[in-house]
């Protein structure tokens, strides 16, 4: 079946996914907290005033680019294909920031941590943001924006 998608990276995806899950498990079993990146980012910057201790949130958030940098060094570079215009970054970022605060989580908190807990709240949120993502990209495709 995967032969139909020659550009897919199932092995790297699975290994990278396991790393993400191990990191989230370390936060849960070590610190008793959800590895939700939107919440930790809001806490690290002081935008949220409840949640993880600020120093913990800052340490986790610093780790994200640090880990990506180490992979980039070890593998000789990580491919990131950004759109040529900065407008999708700004518009997308605003919606991601506002939406994850209003909806109390993102792909990590609801998608990874909540779904694996079989949280009804997170299963609902994940179904909605996935559907919204599919619809948004379909509209972009048929609107000639992709």
């Amino acid at each position: 079946m995967l032969a139909a998608f020659p550009h897919a990276m199932p092995v790297e995806g699975l290994i990278g996914g396991l790393m993400i899950g191990i990191a989230a498990a370390l936060m849960l079993l070590g610190l008793g907290r959800i590895a939700g990146v939107s919440g930790l980012a809001a806490r690290a910057t002081g935008i949220a005033d409840s949640g993880a201790p600020r120093r913990i949130a800052i340490a986790f958030v610093i780790g994200l680019p640090l880990g990506a940098f180490l992979v980039s060094l070890a593998t000789g570079g990580v491919v990131t294909r950004f759109p040529p215009s900065v407008i999708p970054m700004i518009l997308g970022g605003l919606l991601v920031g506002f939406g994850t605060r209003l909806g109390s989580g993102c792909t990590s908190g609801h998608g990874v941590c909540g779904m694996s807990r079989l949280s009804r709240r997170s299963l609902t949120a994940t179904a909605i943001f996935m559907a919204s993502g599919f619809i948004t990209v379909a509209l972009m495709r048929f609107g000639g924006l992709l």
Binding site: E12, G13, L14, L29, S38, A59, M89, F98, F129, A131
Partner: protein
């Protein structure tokens, strides 16, 4: 100190996983969301891979009184489904589709492709601040 180290290590493994899995590449994430284009299933493998260790972690969590380096668990409730959850998730999904980024990859990409990632991260923090001011 041990708590800070755990958070830094967890964040680093998380960021490494994002970069290794291709999830720090906005075009690949957008490729997963692009059902009518050249569909890329990689994100499903990442999500599946991440859920496996976490499912075991939740099984362990139910059998221990407290986490290893803290006095107690600080976990959100899981039941209340309201309009805020639905509208927030829908807006987040739209932004995810437009940019190909969610918060983790946006932050991880600061080390790989700093300029566009910084534009995303600043906008994301601005969106969070708007939520804070209006709620």
């Amino acid at each position: 100190m041990i708590r800070l180290a755990i958070a830094l290590v967890a964040g680093s493994i998380f960021g490494a996983g994002l970069a290794y899995s291709g999830m720090s590449d906005p075009a690949r994430v957008q490729g997963f969301l692009d059902l009518f284009g050249n569909w890329d299933p990689t994100l499903a493998f990442v999500m599946g891979g991440a859920i496996i260790p976490m499912a075991f972690a939740w099984l362990i969590q139910r059998r221990i009184d407290k986490p290893f380096a803290e006095a107690h668990f600080s976990l959100p409730g899981t039941v209340n489904i309201d309009r805020k959850l639905g509208i927030g998730a829908a807006l987040f999904g739209a932004g995810w589709g437009i940019s190909g980024l969610c918060p983790g990859p946006g932050l991880a990409d600061l080390a790989i492709n700093p300029l566009p990632a910084l534009a995303f991260v600043i906008a994301m923090l601005a969106g969070m601040a708007v939520h804070r001011v209006t709620n």
